[in-house]
């Protein structure tokens, strides 16, 4: 099979398995994309982890712990897929900690209050599940298969997040303020989350059908699904330009793409601190990995 034939094969819906021949560029793009997803799952637990000890009730503490467990589990599944493509998990962790590889913008920001935890669990997860659902159609079949399980778990996460928000909105004025303040903080990063509106024809991830959805399409789907849900609670979206036009397309203030780039290249407000924590815990648990491997040998 030539590279051109392979391209036509995946573009017409063909799926690829681990042992199938694939062009080097496809393999490289897959590794980069899937590794970043794995990194994001692993780093994505840190903003919530910070709140496990401070969660308002035992029920919330348990739910948050379960979520953290799920996300770390997703990272394990995803790194396993990357490993089969040729990059060992330890190398992925090296590159994550050294800042060589990236993770999603939203996990570079602080969680100031319990309101932030609610907004992350509801809206950040909602934005993420839109991307992940589109990955169910990924041309690389092993990745598409684990996405089924991941999406299934994410749907509990969104409900948990919405429950946190609804509880606060039905509470005291101070609680409603916490939610509004958190929404104000997170709206910018949320609008940047799906990336700049690159044309599908120019997006190699789309060309190889690693992604099956354009960035702007994902953002529109997010706005369509969640802005009405935000509004119905009496919350204000901090964008005066946000509205749906006659063609059903959401118009909004141009997201700050410079901020997105700055943040994902390792300069977010919490980037250094969170990577430092990863580095420390990895060193502290090194003996476990060593023991497990020695035990079996």
């Amino acid at each position: 099979m030539s590279e051109q034939e392979f391209l036509e094969y995946v573009q017409s819906g063909g799926q690829v398995e681990t042992d199938d021949w694939m062009p080097d560029d496809y393999r490289a793009k897959l590794i980069k994309f899937i590794e970043m997803h794995g990194n994001s799952e692993l780093m994505g637990v840190l903003p919530e982890r910070e709140w496990i000890l401070r969660a308002p009730t035992l029920q919330r503490k348990l739910a948050l712990t379960a979520k953290v467990q799920d996300e770390v589990g997703h990272a394990q599944l995803i790194y396993r897929v990357v490993e089969d493509l040729g990059k060992p998990r330890e190398h992925c962790l090296d590159d994550l900690i050294s800042g060589k590889s990236k993770f999603h913008n939203v996990f570079h920001y602080p969680t100031k209050t319990w309101g932030d935890v609610g907004v992350i669990a509801w809206l950040v997860d909602a934005a993420a599940i839109i991307s992940q659902k589109a990955l169910l159609k990924c041309s690389y079949a092993p990745y598409a298969r684990i996405m089924k399980k991941i999406c299934w778990e994410e749907s509990f996460h969104i409900l948990h997040g919405r429950d946190v928000i609804l509880t606060m909105m039905n509470g005291a004025d101070e609680q409603r303020e916490l939610v509004q303040e958190a929404l104000d903080r997170w709206w910018g990063p949320l609008m940047q989350f799906h990336g700049n509106p690159i044309a599908s024809a120019d997006d190699p991830m789309f060309q190889w059908r690693i992604k099956s959805q354009g960035n702007e399409e994902a953002r529109q789907q997010f706005l369509d699904g969640y802005v009405p849900q935000i509004w119905e609670l009496g919350l204000t979206v901090p964008d005066p330009k946000l509205s749906k036009n006659e063609e059903g397309i959401w118009e909004y203030t141009e997201p700050d793409w410079a901020e997105l780039k700055h943040v994902v290249t390792g300069h977010g407000p919490q980037t250094a601190e969170r990577l430092e924590l990863r580095k420390t815990t990895r060193a502290e648990t090194e003996w476990v990995r060593r023991t497990v491997l020695a035990e079996a040998a």
Binding site: D19, Q69, G73, Q76, L77, R80, V81, E83, D84, R89, P142, R145, I146, K149, W152, E153, V292, L293, E295, A296, A297
Partner: protein
């Protein structure tokens, strides 16, 4: 590290479907990881955990003799049926 393929059954009576894989140093760790990754939320009623090397994969099926007489595509009846209907004078106006 050994790669184990994990197949899961969602409900009793259903087919086991490939779910993913776990990397483990031996089968007891593979069992623990597979339980953790594919069964901790009650999403499976059973798992098959198989060392990847033990899976015998067959993915080429050559039909050298073109034995289409034992398949559905060996019986394209449309033309013959049309002729038979015309012979019997029962052909519908739309020809169907």
């Amino acid at each position: 590290m050994i790669v184990y393929e994990v197949f899961r059954q969602e409900r009793k009576g259903q087919a086991f479907a490939h779910a993913g894989s776990v990397g483990a140093p031996d089968s007891s760790f593979a069992e623990a990881y597979a339980r953790e990754q594919y069964g901790r939320r009650g999403e499976s009623v059973a798992l098959w955990v198989v060392p990847r090397d033990a899976v015998l994969e067959i993915d080429e099926f050559v039909d050298e003799l073109q034995k289409n007489y034992h398949r559905v595509d060996g019986y394209p009846l449309k033309e013959k049926l049309k002729e038979a209907r015309e012979r019997a004078g029962t052909a519908a106006p739309s020809d169907r």
